[in-house]
């Protein structure tokens, strides 16, 4: 019983660590993130990792009033993400004046 619990615990740790490592390796890149909670969508440059939180310089969210500031997003709250590396498909340029 104990061993299976610790096994699942270690799986969770491994899963979280993999995400943290991946985001840390992507500092300086643009990311697209969906979260289940408000404001649901973020696009911006990854600035740093603070523990298991991603610091993002948010240029676009669903709501314009929440843009142009740094957000800390806990990795457990990231449901979907895409990080844009050179040569990869680009995250769309979103512009209110389109």
């Amino acid at each position: 019983m104990t061993s299976s619990r610790s096994a699942s615990y270690s799986h969770n740790v491994m899963h979280d660590m993999a995400l943290v490592d991946y985001f840390r390796a992507s500092i300086g890149q643009r990311a697209f993130i969906l979260t289940p909670s408000y404001p649901f969508m973020f696009i911006g440059e990854i600035i740093s990792l603070v523990g298991d939180q991603v610091e993002l310089a948010v240029e676009t969210t669903h709501f314009a009033q929440l843009e142009n500031r740094n957000w800390l997003i806990h990795i457990d709250n990231i449901e979907v993400f895409y990080i844009e590396f050179p040569g990869d498909p680009r995250i769309p340029e979103l512009n209110d004046m389109l």
């Binding site: 969508m41 669903h62 009033q65 769309p92 340029e93 209110d96 004046m97 389109l98």
Partner: protein, 1216 residues
């Protein structure tokens, strides 16, 4: 905790406004402690309203037991029937139903009701001892009230004194750790008796005819015809016309109707109740929005909500009073149905920005009553000479029309010093006292005018010579020169847009008179908006209370500013100065707030655009879609090509249901689509008649579409159905139920997100009989191959190049469909097949034991039951088919219709009537349409529409439809679409129930498996056993009595007798009504035993003819409820003593004991909380019934659910 109230039902004289209009025969509930006081006040004030005369509003907390000692001083047995609460039905039902002991009190008696307040919310109560629909009935005369159940631990205070209150429609509610809020009870009610000061029925000063009946709020109404008298007598500014100043406090002082007072940003809840008796109203609250279901954050935003009799909703404005921008001023709340609005069904929400301690006065010298600030909010600043607070900074003149806003009119005035003191720092036209647009937002500017021009509505040349529409200034020349067809204004903006509108009034000063209307000087108009955020003082496009008059005179331009902070769907725009007079001529439109970053394209050319009822939307993040806007209209004042008025009223200016119906300024009446063979079965076929002139929206197979559904005019309910497509009822939630029908009233706005699974023609229709007959239908056409005038969506595969020519009009019926050649789009290839063989045939139907019957019934039945029905062994009931999730259902339909068995072989169907009666002979063809299921629309929708093949069958022919049950959606409605005029009201409808996978269906008495039936036991290996009761609520039935005389309901069913002068029966009220081909018309019982309080008693009358469903306490029960047929008057369904989730699929959804808006196509699944007997499983007889006192219950729309306390030999218990 036990809370005790002593309530007395008393007769009372109700003065309903300051003009002395009164109800001499009013009835109301009052607390015993106030009884003498209120009687004394009425004696002293015979001609003015008395504040204590208000619908009784008492309060309790969740978890409380409420004991009500009820004392009856009325001259008939009366009671208090509570919705939503839990109680022992044998002692506390406030009714006399079935074999229960009566819980009504005779005159002079007292009795005790004991109730459990299980759930927070509104618990409406009313009398069901006297359900007469006349002025002798108790509900009509005011006998109703509410118990409001607050969160556990709450207490409440008087908003004026801050002291405790035991009752009252206004209270401040407090809680140890939740925010305090203002609570306002708002009771709509209609048809109450009312006399003027002289004791006569009020007269409309414009038409000099009897005024529209009472339509009010909380025993008050403020009709235009009274205020107009002051204008005509020269007491106030005589140069005005009337309608434009109806709500103007500068002219008339405040109305007698409720004024809901609060400070800016106060949290508030309006407890909205429709207490009685007839109409489905639309509650609209300017400048505020709320969640349709306040307990579910994923429900839809609304700012207008239709409400049927004996229904109720909690309205919790988002962001508190003043909404997001914190606007101050007078915010009008009204029934949006214009004749009701004019008749006085409105009040105000007054939002103050300064403290009211009783030291201030309104501009006319009336003292402002104190208003306690909410204790957990900062108190507003005290008024000063420089900043006197609303409304005292506005430079108006008492007795004259409100002033125009500063800065707004082009070339108009600047601000006064007092106005400058209150204004925001960057005050600008249309945004003076609050800044609606937040930082960062993009500005879009539109130049819009309102113009008059003739509009032709159909191919037969029906036209409105005085069409009035909004149009972009850039399109003025093209529309006026005829290059562009007039259509309702539809503009598109993205969320996060600051919208600026420069609005010019280009209307003539005069709306000319004709058969429909009297000459009216409609000299000022506006652009009133829904949903968006704005400064209500200057940009409401209205003239309300002590606000500015934000309209504009001819040839002047006014500037407005609004903010669309998030995706808000389609917001309604219309005039608010003379809407009663001219909105039905076409003054309505919408601005659709699309998702942020969207790009709008002309669907034909692909060029960017920002307008149009049919566009394509491209978005970089979400799938692209087609956007379609539909506006339904009634009261369209049309003339035929020879200049004869179509359906004029009895006299010009009468609000009594004049005119005809349309969609987007067009209609396509069925009477003109009979074709050469004169067969109604092909009325919708484009092969025979060409495409309709109404919108035929275009898409490719697989496209996503959004339908923006709105109602532009004017008074009535409509039922929107799409055949073969479906959507989620709460768009933000993935858990919500599936729908393919929506009830709509004026000013409501709905967005449906739909995927089109396969090419074909999909019928959309406002499908109550009279609507569709007069042409409120059209198509959504999906192509499988490329067409020239439709761009593909950029994120979908390109359509295949065209290899087959497009179909063409032949004038001949299409070839029969071959459903066996295709599978439904979502069906698996190895789906289990369930087969039914259904026959349509004619047979008399006996509706009750009094001999009321339909000698010309047309029914669907399983083939194995046909003989028993024809030989009289079985009295038919509506066909109920079932299938399980994943099933492929094959329904083989055969027609055995015989021409000689139709009642009106000459092709004129006289009763129940519809407007624009015309030759339309009965079809011998028939079809079976089912909503919501998955099927190929070209073969199995039962709808021979557009260029789809023929899906109807003639005598002796058969067709085998293939329906796929894609989900356990519950109730789906079925009806015939071959002849909506001559078939449906005779019985060609039923229900399909989509059950969970692996479910089996059993007879409740023998437990044998069954293939059909309205009362079954469901057995599912993963769930418990369920009792399933299917109720088909239908109207528009033509019945004959036992002597063969046609029954003209509702008139023939009125108790004790109809008013000989009653002219309130609209075409769509006619016809008998009931459940499952049965009706227990109370008049039959009353003639035998004329005691109102005994009408529902089985002790006296035996059980009703309508279904008596049986169960044991705690049995799991699901009620499958649908209204497949057929008239436009919406009904409410209510089951005594039980509650259910508003949306059975969503655990977050609110709890109700009623369901409103029951019109053609509605489907509901009511999973009774606690099972039979409610939360506490009390045995007894529970009445299910309509909530419309006028005219449903009398006419037989009721029955019983019987919960036995002991095991009955005939009813095996559910084994657990």
């Amino acid at each position: 905790m036990i809370r005790r109230y002593h309530v007395v039902a008393i007769p009372i004289r109700m003065v309903v406004n300051n003009f002395g209009d009164h109800n001499p025969d009013g009835q109301m509930y009052v607390l015993k402690e106030n009884e003498e006081k209120v009687k004394e006040l009425i004696r002293k004030n015979p001609f003015t309203p008395v504040e204590l005369v208000q619908p009784l509003t008492i309060r309790a907390n969740e978890g409380d037991t409420v004991e009500i000692l009820f004392e009856n001083q009325l001259p008939f047995a009366a009671g208090m029937h509570f919705q939503d609460l839990d109680y022992n039905v044998l002692t506390s039902d406030g009714a006399n139903v079935g074999f229960n002991p009566s819980s009504l009190a005779e005159c002079g008696e007292k009795l005790l009701y004991r109730l459990e307040a299980t759930f927070e919310g509104i618990c409406f109560f009313t009398d069901v001892g006297n359900i007469s629909s006349t002025e002798e009935g108790s509900s009509i005369q005011g006998l109703f009230g509410t118990l409001l159940v607050e969160r556990r631990g709450s207490w409440w205070t008087d908003p004026v004194t801050g002291g405790p209150v035991n009752s009252g429609v206004f209270a401040d509610i407090h809680h140890p750790f939740l925010p305090s809020f203002r609570e306002y009870a708002w009771f709509f009610h209609d048809e109450m008796e009312v006399d003027d000061l002289t004791g006569n029925r009020p007269i409309n000063a414009m038409t000099n005819q009897e005024a529209e009946s009472f339509h009010g709020v909380n025993y008050r109404y403020e009709p235009l015809h009274n205020r107009l008298k002051l204008v005509e007598e020269g007491v106030v500014s005589p140069e005005v016309e009337g309608e434009e100043v109806h709500h103007d406090s500068w002219m008339f002082g405040d109305p007698a109707t409720p004024i809901l007072r609060g400070y800016r940003d106060d949290p508030a809840v309006i407890r909205l109740i429709h207490a009685a008796a007839k109409e489905t109203h639309v509650f609209h609250y300017h400048a505020h929005q709320w969640l349709r279901d306040p307990s579910n954050v994923q429900s839809e935003f609304v700012d207008a909500q239709a409400i049927s009799p004996q229904s109720h909703y909690s309205i919790q404005p988002l962001y508190g009073l003043g909404s997001l921008p914190g606007t101050i001023g007078d915010v009008i709340i009204h029934c949006h149905l214009y004749p009701h609005f004019e008749a006085g069904m409105w009040g105000l929400n007054r939002i103050f920005d300064t403290l009211q301690d009783g030291s201030q006065c309104y501009p006319n010298g009336t003292p402002i009553a104190p208003l306690q600030p909410l204790p957990d909010r900062p108190a507003p600043p005290r008024p000063t000479k420089e900043r006197p607070g609303f409304p005292n900074f506005i430079p108006g003149k008492v007795g004259c029309k409100a002033p125009r806003p500063p800065l707004g009119i082009v070339g108009g005035r600047d601000m006064t010093e007092l106005e400058k003191n209150v204004a925001v720092p960057n005050a600008r036209p249309g945004a003076v006292f609050t800044d609606p647009c937040m930082n960062n937002s993009v500005v879009e500017e539109f130049n819009i005018s309102v113009i008059e021009l003739p509009i032709v509505y159909n191919k037969q040349g029906w036209y409105d010579p005085k069409g009035r529409i909004y149009v972009r200034d850039e399109d003025l020349d093209d529309v006026l020169s005829g290059k562009k067809e007039p259509e309702p204004l539809v503009l598109h903006v993205a969320a996060n847009t600051c919208i600026r509108v420069n609005f010019t009034n280009r209307l003539p000063h005069i709306l000319d008179g004709d058969a429909f209307q009297l000459v009216t000087r409609t000299y000022e108009t506006a652009f009133h908006i829904h949903f968006v955020k704005f400064d209500v003082l200057v940009a409401d496009g209205a003239n309300v209370g002590w606000n500015y008059d934000s309209s504009v005179l001819p040839n002047e331009t006014i500037r407005y500013e609004y903010f669309a902070e998030t995706e808000l769907k389609a917001f309604f725009v219309h005039d608010h100065l003379f809407p009663v007079s001219h909105q039905q001529h076409g003054i309505f439109g919408t601005i659709v707030v699309q998702p942020r970053f969207s790009q709008f394209l002309d669907s034909k050319t692909g060029e960017e655009t920002d307008k149009g009822a049919e566009i394509t939307v491209h978005n970089p993040l979400i799938p692209d879609y087609r956007d379609f806007a539909l506006f339904v209209q009634d009261f369209a004042f049309l003339f035929d090509k020879d200049g004869c008025p179509i359906q004029p009223p009895q006299f010009p200016g009468s609000p009594d249901d004049p005119g005809i119906f349309a969609v987007n300024y067009k209609n396509e009446p069925l009477q003109f689509r009979l074709g050469k063979d004169c067969d109604p079965a092909y009325s919708f076929s484009s092969y025979v008649n060409g495409d309709p002139i109404t919108p035929v929206f275009q898409a490719y197979e697989g496209d996503s579409i959004r339908i923006r559904l709105l109602q532009g005019a004017h008074e009535e309910s409509h039922s929107f159905n799409v055949h073969g497509l479906r959507w989620r009822s709460e768009r933000p939630s993935n858990d919500s139920q599936i729908r393919s029908q929506q009830h709509i009233g004026i000013s409501e706005s709905f967005t449906f997100e739909i995927d089109i699974p396969r090419a074909g023609d999909y019928l959309w229709a406002f499908e109550t009989e009279e609507d569709v007959w007069n042409g409120t239908w059209g198509l959504i056409r999906a192509y499988d191959q490329e067409v020239e005038d439709l761009i593909p969506l950029s994120d979908r595969p390109l359509p295949a190049p065209r290899t087959r020519p497009l179909p063409e009009v032949t004038g001949k019926p299409p070839a029969p469909a071959d459903p066996q050649s295709t599978l439904p789009p979502e069906a698996a290839h190895n789906a289990p097949i369930r087969r039914y063989s259904v026959v349509a045939f004619q047979t008399p139907i006996l509706y009750n034991s009094f001999g009321d019957h339909d000698p010309f019934g047309i029914v669907f039945a399983l083939e194995e039951d046909v003989e028993d029905i024809l030989y009289g062994k079985k009295n038919p009931e509506p066909l109920v088919l079932r299938g399980n999730s994943g099933d492929l259902v094959e329904v083989t339909l055969t027609s055995r219709l015989k021409f000689e068995l139709f009642p009106f072989p000459d092709g004129i169907h006289p009763y129940p009537p519809v407007k624009e009666q015309a030759f339309y002979p009965p079809s011998l063809r028939i079809s079976l349409f089912v909503n919501m299921l998955d099927y190929d629309v070209t073969t199995s929708s039962g709808s021979t529409v557009g260029f789809n093949p023929d899906q109807t069958v003639g005598p002796g022919e058969t067709i085998t439809y293939r329906w796929h049950v894609q989900d356990a959606m519950g109730t789906c409605a079925m009806w015939d679409l071959a002849d909506l005029r001559n078939h449906r009201s005779f019985g060609t409808f039923g229900a399909f129930i989509a059950e969970p996978r692996f479910t089996t269906y059993h007879d409740p008495y023998t437990l044998e498996p069954v293939r059909t039936g309205t009362n079954v036991i469901l057995n599912n290996p993963f769930g418990s056993l369920y009792r399933e009761f299917v109720l088909i609520m239908h109207d528009g039935v033509r019945l004959e009595d036992k002597h063969g005389k046609v029954i003209i309901d509702p008139i023939d069913g009125v108790i004790p007798e109809p008013d000989p002068e009653d002219d309130e029966v609209d075409t769509y009220d006619f016809g008998s009504r009931g459940f499952n081909y049965r009706t227990e018309r109370l008049i039959n019982r009353f003639r035998k035993h004329p005691v109102l309080g005994d009408l529902f008693s089985s002790e006296v009358h035996g059980d009703p003819a309508t279904p008596v469903f049986e169960a044991y306490p705690g049995d799991p029960v699901v009620i499958r409820l649908t209204t497949p047929s057929e008239r436009r008057r919406a009904h409410t369904f209510h089951l005594h003593g039980h509650n259910w989730k508003f949306d059975p699929r969503d655990i977050e959804s609110r709890i109700d004991s009623y369901t409103g808006h029951m019109v053609a196509g509605v489907t509901e699944d009511l999973l009774l909380i606690g099972g039979a007997g409610g939360t506490y499983n009390y045995p007894g007889d529970y009445m299910y019934r309509a909530g419309n006192i006028r005219w449903d219950i009398e006419q037989g729309m009721w029955g019983i659910m019987r919960v036995h306390s002991k095991v009955q030999p005939h009813l095996p218990p559910l084994s657990h």
